[in-house]
Amino acid sequence: MNHRLMRCLERIGMALLCALPGGMALAATQVLVISGIGGEAQFDARFAQWSQKVATASATATGDPHRVVTLSGEGARREAVQAALRSAAENLRDGDQFTLVLLGHGSFDGSEYRFNLPGDDITGTELLALLDKIPPTVLQLVVNATSTSGAIAERWVRPYRVVITATRSGTERNAPKFGGYWAEALSSAEADRDKDGTLTAQEAYDFANRKVADAFKSDAAIASEHSRINGTEPSRFVVARLGAGAMFANDAQLLAMRNEQGVIEGRLAQLRAQKAQLSQDEYFDRIEPALVELAKLGVRIDARLAVLGVNTGGTPNAAR
């Protein structure tokens, strides 16, 4: 089964799950954002701004701002970090998702990575031990946007855990730009490449990674950071929802239409599997009817959203 088809079926499944009667347990997403010590005012301000942006955008993915915990400044001491991770390990249930975002400075002495916090730093080994206490039935995404974060990339990855690092290795020590672009991605329509209103970890990573490369290129400078993504299927993680995406969970009509979308997208995915065997014209001729169906459905969805008081915009420009 190809990746796109998988995603479509997952979407159908998610919609059905959301439509279950009340009282049944729903999969939850929890996000922990930790902003480390900056050392200088400019870095403190920068990291605080990034963490705020990540937290705000993450709430669109969790559907509940209370499921986003932010530790920053003096609140991001080692003990607080340990407590927050222990709490996550205790409260997360099978099928839940957990995202950890680390912003700030890291260091690596050749054998041990450290995340720089007010007071005592926390080591990579300690963080890994805390993460490993979270049940393996919980899908986990770790975004370590600190300097030298590449040092932990392979060590932290698990079948159920995707690890994104700002740097390729522990030797890339400059304060990375990656975290800022990750934060930007979470509210960027440009990052949502398939324009489905949900931003996956893969999409956000691709956006941030490209922005970092472009920034160095624009400065005609040699890139001092190279981000990495380790682990399987990062597209399983929804890290933010854009526009009216968050409305769907609360309206039965929208959910029903989302299900219809899923079915049509499933057909499209099957056609895409044949793409390599077809000429471009043949391929376009085959997908066009399904795309027209989706477009008509889009009109109905917009009409429903308008009834709910959401203006998706009447013209292409405004909609973008």
Partner: protein, 770 residues
């Protein structure tokens, strides 16, 4: 050329690179026509020198060969040197020096060989050793002085002028030894380099007379006399005939004349001499190389290659030859776009031809049309524009070696320049550089390359200010400080500011002064008169002095006085108290940092009032805009940035800021124009093309929008759905529904629920209503 052979040759260039391997690599050079004037030269060598100096090559070779077995190491070394066997010569010179640690002559001749091989640093080391051994040795003093006679580069700097050692040392030697041919020749070269032609002729004539008296070859004296004739736009036939009568294969004569013309940027004229050099002495490898380089300046790349390859085979030690061959190999990575009406060849790296090409073509076309109209001149053939993403490639293209500090050069109808991709965004405005260089194409062409350097540069700067993509008289305060100090040059000697600068930064000052002089002339007499002034140089005997008198009807002194009055009037406020402007700028920035918007605004506005021409490096306009925005006055910020732009401001971040402020104020048409201007400063940034495309579509400019989206796609954006959707909209607006559908479906294939694209699909399929 077949690929395998191509690769093989490339490897050979690489092997040839390390110059210092002279001692380790065997090489059979052509017999150099080296003339040793030193009276200490042995009689045995002199016997062989005679046929060599007369161009009787085989006779000379047969004479030198037995000397390779001579009992004296210096004689063996000289014989090997004369036969072109530099490796053996190098070994033998080393032996000669080892045999006598205090010997001066072997060091001088060994150094001369290094000079011939293009290793002046090694030559200098040996000459200095010789002077240390015997500070009174005339040969050693002259050898050392000879190193500082002529400029070394294409673009002179203060360091490239005749050194004090040369300027003082040569006359000092001559004072005690007035009959030394070599000293008179050096003096002639020195005076030629300084532009004192009468003195150069006098010294060369004396050298010629002495050579004839002393039965030494007259060739170098005749060459210098011919060179002066060329510089004076006169026929040097008298001297070339005489030299060829003495030695029919004396290629150095014509190579020198070609070099003189290259220094004056008269590449077509230089080519004639270079070609004759190669004809009379095909194995003069330096001439083959210079001929090839000049052919490249004229855009005749295919013709250049065989000469370069021949030069490499004969002399694999030349850095210039090796670098240029490698550059030619790398041209496979370039696209050549041939455009018509007007005819243009655009050579761009394949990786950026799709992104830069549309803008280069558009601006080059605009430049050709503008300058054809303004100067009443049409280039005969296509204008070639070469853009190099790697600055070192551009440098090699320009000067044969990497590391020059230029952004663009013009060789007649050929412009070569740096690509914006090779520099930090905001470092340079490629559009203005192209505009500047394209103006040279016309000022050089309209005068058959006879325009003086200052006027050609001045008009290019003037065109940047008045018709280019960044209109506005943008200068730095430095040129006003130089003016105040009385260091700007009189118009008749303004060329010296470019060709023989005497202080650091004078070349840049001369650009500004020349631009301001053209601005002054244009304002006082009108632009048509300025064009008439330019065209006066079509007469090869016209000087700046004569042209000023005949066209402007004033004396050069009156011109200078008028220019000074113009400067004093235009920049009166700044000149009254230069320190005040600097203080205002400091205060404006400090207040902005302190978020004291009112104080920052006041200081910035006062700085603008003092010197509105400064638009770069955190200009007062940008401070003012930031202060206005900080104070919650976006409309005032727009006004500040528009004034900045009008004054010549172009920094891409500033333009983007202005664009976003205009968009926020719903002034879309103005925003569109501003965002389009970003492309001439920073075209390779992904951001902005989509927005500009949308704005162009709003204005029903589908074809222009198509350009933006094509560029965007060539930049390989992540968001291909949006880019393809933009293409679809642009094609639809231009009436090409078939391609519009294809791009639309491409967009929706990536993003099936992309609402704007869905709406267009329904519109195009007639399914809007259900």
């Amino acid at each position: 050329m077949p690929r395998a052979e191509h690769s093989h040759r490339r490897m050979k260039w690489l092997h040839g690179l390390p110059l210092a391997l002279l001692a380790a690599v065997s090489c059979q050079q052509a017999m150099a026509v080296d003339i040793d004037y030193d009276a200490r030269r042995s009689a045995a060598l002199r016997r062989c020198d005679d046929p060599q100096h007369h161009g009787r090559v085989e006779e000379a070779r047969n004479c030198y060969r037995p000397l390779l077995r001579d009992g004296n190491a210096l004689t063996r070394a000289e014989a090997a040197f004369a036969l072109g066997d530099l490796r053996t010569a190098n070994d033998e010179f080393r032996v000669a020096v080892a045999d006598n640690q205090r010997a001066v002559l072997p060091r001088l001749r060994w150094g001369k060989m290094y000079l011939e091989a293009g290793q002046p640093a090694d030559a200098e080391r040996l000459f200095k050793e010789a002077v240390e051994i015997d500070g009174k040795d005339v040969g050693a003093l002259l050898a050392l002085a000879s190193l500082g006679v002529e400029p070394s580069g294409e673009e002179p700097s203060a360091e490239d002028q005749p050194t004090d050692e040369a300027a003082d040392g040569i006359p000092r030697v001559l004072a005690e030894n007035p009959n030394l041919v070599e000293a008179q020749l050096l003096l002639a070269r020195l005076e030629l380099a300084r532009g004192r032609f009468d003195n150069a002729v006098k010294a060369a004539q004396r050298a010629l007379q002495l050579a004839q008296q002393q039965k030494l070859p007259p060739l170098e004296a005749q060459t210098l006399l011919a060179a002066v004739e060329v510089v004076r736009h006169r026929d040097p036939a008298q001297w070339t005939r005489a030299a060829l009568e003495y030695n029919p294969h004396y290629g150095a004569l014509f190579e020198t004349l070609g070099t003189v013309e290259v220094r004056r940027r008269r590449y077509v004229e230089a080519n004639v001499w270079m070609q004759r050099a190669v004809e009379v002495q095909p194995d003069l490898w330096s001439a083959r190389r210079e001929f090839a380089l000049n052919l490249m300046r004229l855009g005749r790349i295919a013709e250049a290659r065989p000469h370069l390859e021949a030069a490499y085979e004969g002399d694999p030690f030349s850095t210039t030859t090796v670098n240029t061959l490698r550059l030619l190999d790398s041209l496979a990575k370039f696209d050549v776009i041939k455009a018509t009406q007007p005819a243009m060849n655009l050579q761009l790296n394949k990786q950026e031809s799709a992104t830069l090409g549309p803008y280069v073509e558009q601006l080059a076309r605009e430049a050709i049309n503008t300058f054809s109209r303004r100067y009443g001149y049409q280039p005969a053939g296509p204008v070639t524009v070469e853009i190099y993403p790697d600055h070192d490639d551009f440098a090699v293209r320009t000067a044969g070696v990497p590391g020059i500090g230029l952004l663009g050069v013009t060789f007649g109808d050929l412009v070569a320049m740096d690509s914006p991709s090779g520099r930090k965004s905001g470092d340079f405005h490629w559009g203005s550089v192209l505009w500047h260089e394209m103006a040279h194409v016309f000022t050089l062409g309209a005068t058959r390359n006879r325009v003086p350097r200052w006027l050609s540069e001045g008009l290019s700067v003037f065109e940047e200010w008045t018709t280019g993509p960044t209109p506005g008289v943008a200068i730095t305060s430095k040129v006003l400080d130089v003016f105040k100090d009385g260091k700007l040059l009189p118009v008749v000697s303004l060329d010296n500011g470019f060709m023989q600068p005497t202080y650091e930064g004078q070349v840049q000052m001369s650009y500004d002064q020349s631009g301001l002089a053209c601005l002054y002339a244009s304002q006082r007499w009108g632009f048509p008169r300025l064009v008439e002034f330019l065209r006066a140089f079509n007469d090869e005997n016209t000087t700046t002095d004569a042209a000023v008198r005949s066209v402007f009807k004033v004396t050069p002194e009156e011109f200078d006085k008028g220019f000074q009055d113009f400067m004093r009037k235009r920049f009166a406020t700044y000149l009254a108290d230069p320190k005040r402007w600097a203080e205002l700028m400091r205060r404006a920035h400090a207040m902005l940092d302190a978020r004291n918007w009112v104080a920052a605004r006041e200081a910035a506005q006062a700085a603008i009032d003092v010197l509105p021409e400064v638009t770069t490096g955190g200009s007062a306009y940008e401070v003012l805009a930031a202060a206005e925005e900080g104070a919650g006055k976006p409309e005032a910020a727009i006004v500040a940035l528009q004034s900045w732009r009008k004054a010549g401001g172009w920094d891409p971040d500033g333009l983007r800021k202005l664009g976003s402020l205009l968009l926020a104020a719903k002034r879309n048409a103005e925003a569109m124009e501003v965002l389009a201007a970003v492309n001439y400063a920073d075209p390779l940034a992904i951001e902005g093309h989509d927005r500009l495309g949308q704005l162009l579509l709003e204005q029903n400019r589908g074809a222009d929008a198509l350009r933006e989206y094509r560029v965007l796609l060539a930049l390989q954006p992540l968001d291909t759905a949006a880019a393809n959707f933009g293409m679809a909209r642009a094609f639809r607006q231009t009436g090409d529904n078939s391609r519009a559908r294809r791009y639309l479906l491409e967009s929706l294939d990536t993003a099936p629920n992309y609402r704007p694209a869905q709406k267009l699909l329904l519109e195009m399929t007639g399914d809007q209503k259900q």
